[in-house]
């Protein structure tokens, strides 16, 4: 890992440590660093600026109340927040109670995501991988992830067998991992 990335990672953890002791400035810095990712994901899912702002608010307030929910063993902070943002946005979309506790979410990413540059590089690669994917697989993945459709709903919508949809989603995800590892 490059030293800039190490610094960024250390800094995330340092901010979380400061937040644990009630440092509001650290909370503001963490918000500046990650609010764009959280908001962009929530907005993509919900397609509503007000609702996305509520998800953004909810996630950062939870982090303020319980900064211990994140530690380095939960993975990279950007990746962790991105997954939580998506899950909370889908919960909001489906008007249901949160399906998982943020403390239970552990995200493992082999790729460096600590700095803005890393994230941009990964974004380009993932976009390329999505474009290169067979359309039915990409649609299944996007419907499941960004629209929160279940495999049953996707199978009904596309008229494809349930087993095919399930496998497509998994292999689609794993192919992203492989492209980044290559």
């Amino acid at each position: 890992m490059a030293s800039a990335d190490t610094n960024a990672m250390t800094s995330d953890l340092a901010l979380v440590t400061a937040i644990r002791s009630g440092d509001q400035g650290a909370m503001a810095a963490l918000y500046d660093r990650f609010s764009s990712i959280v908001y962009a994901v929530a907005l993509r899912v919900l397609q509503d600026a007000g609702a996305a702002e509520d998800v953004l608010q909810d996630i950062f307030i939870q982090l303020w109340r319980n900064p211990g929910a994140f530690d380095s063993s939960r993975g990279n902070m950007a990746a962790w927040l991105a997954v939580i943002a998506r899950n909370r946005a889908i919960d909001a979309l489906r008007k249901r109670r949160p399906q998982d506790d943020i403390e239970d979410v552990i995200v493992s990413v082999e790729t460096d995501l600590a700095s803005e540059t890393d994230r941009s590089r990964v974004m380009e690669k993932v976009r390329g991988a999505l474009q290169a994917m067979p359309s039915p697989q990409r649609f299944a993945l996007e419907m499941a992830y960004f629209e929160g459709l279940t495999h049953v709903e996707i199978a009904e919508k596309t008229g494809e067998p349930l087993g095919t949809v399930k496998t497509r989603i998994r292999t689609g995800l794993i192919s992203l991992r492989k492209i980044l590892a290559a």
């Binding site: 908001y39 962009a40 907005l43 953004l56 303020w64 997954v83 399906q99 998994r170 992203l176 980044l180």
Partner: protein, 260 residues
């Protein structure tokens, strides 16, 4: 990674939150016992986070940050309860009576600790009650000041144009700041007013909140996030680009003033 093939597809669906309750329960039972599948679930969540990173969009509006910072400033920081009990373990059978004896000792310790924590909790509740009452009083004041039915009257020399005027009430020890301003000019597009605190030690000015006035040019900033122990020499309001808060004042100075 050797994962159990019969759960392979379901792990991805679990990470997506798509499984039915029954399927979830069954998979969670398996996950408790299977480290390989747990690792694969974490990796699948990592893959999902990569999908999140493909999203681009506008930055959140500046008011979202103000809203968050106001919310956390208003939220008392109660200490966390003792670490929650760990997940169930399977060592009961092997450790048997030794574990039971250890548990009895632990329970005695916990009872004592519990009694001490109860006293702490009662104290904190009392403090919290006092703070909640104080906050309610402040909120009532703010509500009264920002009520649209309030008729603000400013007395001036005849024929003088209304001038922007601000009042800052700052208490260093509690980092509380209430700032009231009136007669501000309406904002140009994509601009916002920003309040600054200038420390007496000559340090760099500290951003103390972005705000937009109402149609009459009035605005209020209440308890913006501020660092601890800063003595204020001056306060100032500048006109800045909407994307903030900023590291330093760069825009036009609108009003400024120091302690009397």
């Amino acid at each position: 990674m050797s994962i159990h093939e019969q759960f392979a597809d379901d792990l991805a669906l679990y990470a997506l939150g798509s499984l039915t309750s029954e399927e979830r329960v069954m998979l969670e039972k398996h996950l408790e016992e299977c480290p390989s599948c747990r690792r694969e679930l974490e990796a699948l969540r990592g893959d999902l986070s990569l999908l999140s990173l493909t999203t681009v969009g506008p930055r959140p509006p500046a008011r979202a940050k103000q809203r968050l910072m106001a919310a956390i400033a208003a939220e008392p920081r109660l200490p966390k309860p003792l670490a929650a009990a760990g997940r169930s373990h399977s060592w009961w059978g092997t450790l048997g009576w030794a574990a039971a004896a250890a548990m009895v000792l632990l329970c005695i310790g916990l009872v004592r600790q519990n009694s001490s924590l109860s006293r702490d909790l009662a104290l904190l509740r009392a403090q919290f009650g006092g703070q909640a009452r104080e906050l309610e009083q402040v909120n009532n004041t703010i509500r009264a000041l920002s009520d649209p039915e309030i008729q603000p009257v400013i007395l001036r020399t005849p024929n003088s144009a209304p001038q922007p005027q601000g009042k800052a009430f700052y208490r260093r020890r509690s980092r509380s700041l209430i700032f009231l301003v009136s007669s501000l000019p309406q904002l140009p597009p994509e601009k916002v007013y920003e309040l600054w605190l200038f420390p007496t030690n000559g340090g760099a000015p500290i951003a103390a909140g972005l705000f937009k006035p109402d149609a009459r040019g009035n605005a209020t900033v209440v308890n913006p996030p501020l660092p601890e122990g800063i003595e204020a020499k001056n306060f100032a309001v500048t006109l800045e680009p909407e994307s903030g808060p900023h590291e330093a004042p760069r825009g036009t100075l609108v009003i400024a003033g120091g302690g009397e």
